[in-house]
């Protein structure tokens, strides 16, 4: 085990896969010479050379289209979209082309590619650089969707994403890049589609993703301490495939389901999971399903405003305290 930051784990994961498989290539804006604007890809150019690690123009449609063309002809591209908000400028490539190519061609094409992107709030970047848009990807059939909460998962899930034969949208949380954690030494490959139960409790089940995971854990500790409420906390890690087995099993155990979501309220992953639970384990529920989300507003920029908009530990504790009774 070694301690790495979340951003170092990104570079480590890419390096591990580029080392192993020469078909893996990497492109994006400022990712090569500069090592990425979040410094998450430092050293890759030096190590793998300009043929495999390339800076691009500001042309997101070209970046993603090029990844698609490369993937269908035998390579395994990783493309970076600097901020997940910019997926909107190449959304056609992602949602209409990449997601559908295999299906439309009746399996003639596979697209083993990864789109890495910095998601989420916390840096006071304002409404166009802070969104959590994993639900955009989740809503489109044909895309796998991953969002790790810690360095070990970053490396392991990124490796799994690169090895996966299907397109994976890999949401890194920009608020977590500086966070540290133990990462297994040597080759580390995780499994897509597996949630992790981080804490077992008896009263409520709390689902969280990415930067909401540490907040949910801290809220669980406080709920235990201050209210005697015992919470299970599940880190979803992957939205597609979705580990409904774990999710439903953990929900049934406590009978009370909560989601903690950074995305704006409407049609988030929490809505999807809440409605799966309301259909599939309705009779095991002991009370309302409660989603704790960012309100349905664009994100404000000022620190005081941003902090008050995204679900905080305080808000999680307060909501569960109020409703879990």
């Amino acid at each position: 085990m070694a301690e790495l930051t979340y951003r170092e784990a990104v570079a480590a994961g890419i390096a591990q896969e580029m080392e192993r498989d020469e078909r893996v290539i990497f492109l994006g804006e400022d990712i090569a010479a500069a090592g990425g604007v979040f410094k998450a890809t430092v050293g890759l150019l030096e190590r793998f050379g300009p043929k495999r690690v390339r800076d691009t123009p500001i042309s997101e449609q070209a970046i993603i289209g090029a990844a698609m063309g490369a993937a269908m002809t035998g390579l395994r591209p990783i493309a970076e979209i600097m901020f997940s908000d910019f997926l909107a400028v190449c959304w056609d490539m992602v949602a209409n082309e990449i997601a559908k190519a295999r299906y439309m061609s009746a399996g003639q094409m596979t697209l083993p590619l990864v789109i890495r992107t910095a998601n989420g709030a916390g840096a006071r970047f304002g409404a166009q650089h802070s969104q959590s848009v994993e639900n955009w990807a989740m809503s489109v059939p044909g895309l796998k969707v991953v969002a790790p909460s810690n360095p070990a998962d970053v490396k392991g899930l990124l490796a799994a994403a690169v090895r996966d034969p299907d397109p994976v949208i890999f949401f890194e949380h920009k608020g977590l890049y500086a966070s540290k954690g133990q990462v297994p030494d040597g080759e580390h490959v995780d499994r897509l589609g597996t949630a992790k139960v981080l804490r077992e409790g008896a009263d409520v089940t709390v689902l969280a993703l990415a930067a909401m995971v540490p907040r949910a854990l801290e809220a669980a500790e406080r709920l235990q301490r201050e209210e005697g409420i015992s919470a299970t906390v599940v880190d979803l890690r992957s939205l597609v495939p979705l580990d409904t087995t774990t999710i439903l099993a953990e929900t049934v155990k406590t009978g009370r389901l909560y989601t903690v979501e950074e995305n704006p309220r409407l049609c988030g992953w929490g809505a999807e999971i809440a409605s799966i639970a309301a259909e599939e384990c309705f009779y095991d529920l002991d009370g309302p399903i409660v989603r704790i989300t960012t309100p349905h507003v664009p994100l404000p920029a000022a620190d005081a405003l941003e902090d008050a908009t995204i679900p905080s530990v305080e808000r999680i504790v307060e909501t569960i305290r109020r409703t879990a009774g």
Binding site: E60, A62, G69, M72, T73, R102, Q108, G142
Partner: protein, 342 residues
């Protein structure tokens, strides 16, 4: 904009001499497209083809000229108007008609439909129905060839209307900067759906007049002359294979039918279609072959053979069962399934 191309085919004189076998291949390819698409048209009228469909009648020389100049392992990317390009790369006629008819024998078993013809084993890497989207994808395939160190090239066909969309610009610059072996071919048939391209474009030649914006040569070719197309194609492909980077070629042509099945094409000025039909690519080419000494009987034999092939393909497609509903939840993922949960 006048009806006849104003510019001499680029590279026509300097291009490779076209030999007899190549000429016959060019003729045959055009014929196959023409006769198959006419059949497709009949099948609409019989309501055996549902949904939409976009014919290339009148534009056959572009598809043929390029396909004949390409190598088996090169890549073709085309639009919803892609029957011609898919056929020209060698995809089976029954597979094309079957797809249009929603039959099991269709190239994609009916899942893709007329606008998405794909035959990867023939290098036909998909037909794309969102205008402009496939230009970056073609650049990516070319990049892949460059990285893998093969000398494959990618050829990407699109309409005049596609030149005004963002993806065109991004792909052209990207390909030029990375010197990718990709040839962008604008089939300028003068119209988008119903709107003349000249009414919405700042330059007269929507592709060629923009080549310099990407450091590329201005190239216009007579898209109704298969030899001219072939010559331009061969030259551009040669440059791409030789590591000299991309080309942008504007082929001037005309579509005889409406934009799609739904369109009676009433927006065309009287006489315009007739003017273009005088320069029908297949009639012109047939006359040229005869002039060059090919016996008419040989051409008639070929015409007969192609017609029989179309007839047979039609029967095969008609005899094929409708697409089977159990493919609906197949092939979202590489494991063959569609499951998004465990």
């Amino acid at each position: 904009m006048s009806n006849s191309p104003r510019t001499a085919p680029a590279g026509a004189s300097s291009g490779p001499r076209v030999d007899q076998a190549t000429r016959l291949a060019l003729f045959r390819s055009q014929l196959e497209i023409r006769l198959l698409e006419k059949r497709a048209y009949d099948l609409f009228l019989q309501n055996l083809i549902k949904g939409t469909s976009h014919l290339s009648l009148g534009q056959e020389a572009v598809a043929a000229g390029f396909a004949v100049a390409m190598r088996g392992d090169d890549y073709t990317f085309c639009t919803y108007r892609g029957h011609a390009h898919t056929l020209a790369r060698g995809a089976p006629m029954a597979g094309v008609l079957g797809e249009l008819m929603g039959r099991k024998c269709g190239l994609m078993g009916g899942k893709g439909g007329s606008m998405h013809l794909t035959s990867v084993r023939h290098g036909a890497m998909g037909s794309y129905a969102i205008v402009g989207a496939h230009l970056p994808v073609a650049a990516g395939a070319a990049w892949s060839a460059q990285v893998r160190g093969t000398d494959q090239v990618a050829v990407c066909f699109f309409g005049d209307g596609a030149t005004n969309i963002g993806a065109f610009h991004e792909a052209l610059n990207f390909a030029a900067v990375w010197k990718l072996p990709v040839i962008f071919v604008c089939e300028n048939n003068q119209y988008m759906e119903y709107t003349p391209i000249r009414s919405v474009t700042a330059v007269e030649h929507p592709a060629a007049d923009r080549a310099s914006a990407y450091g590329l040569e201005r190239q216009i070719v007579d898209g109704n002359d298969a030899d001219a197309v072939y010559a331009a194609a061969a030259a551009a492909i040669g440059r791409a294979r030789g590591g000299e980077g991309p080309s942008l070629i504007e082929a001037m042509t005309y579509r005889y039918s409406g934009h799609s099945r739904a369109d009676p094409a009433k927006y065309r000025p009287a006489g315009e279609l007739e003017e273009w039909m005088k320069r029908d690519p297949i009639a012109l080419y047939r006359a040229r072959l005869i002039e060059l000494g090919v016996p008419e009987s040989a051409l008639r034999d070929m015409e007969g053979a192609v017609q029989r092939a179309v007839d047979e393909a039609t029967e095969t497609a008609k005899a094929s069962a409708p697409s089977s509903v159990d493919v609906i939840d197949r092939d979202v993922w590489a494991d063959g399934g569609s499951s998004w949960r465990n």
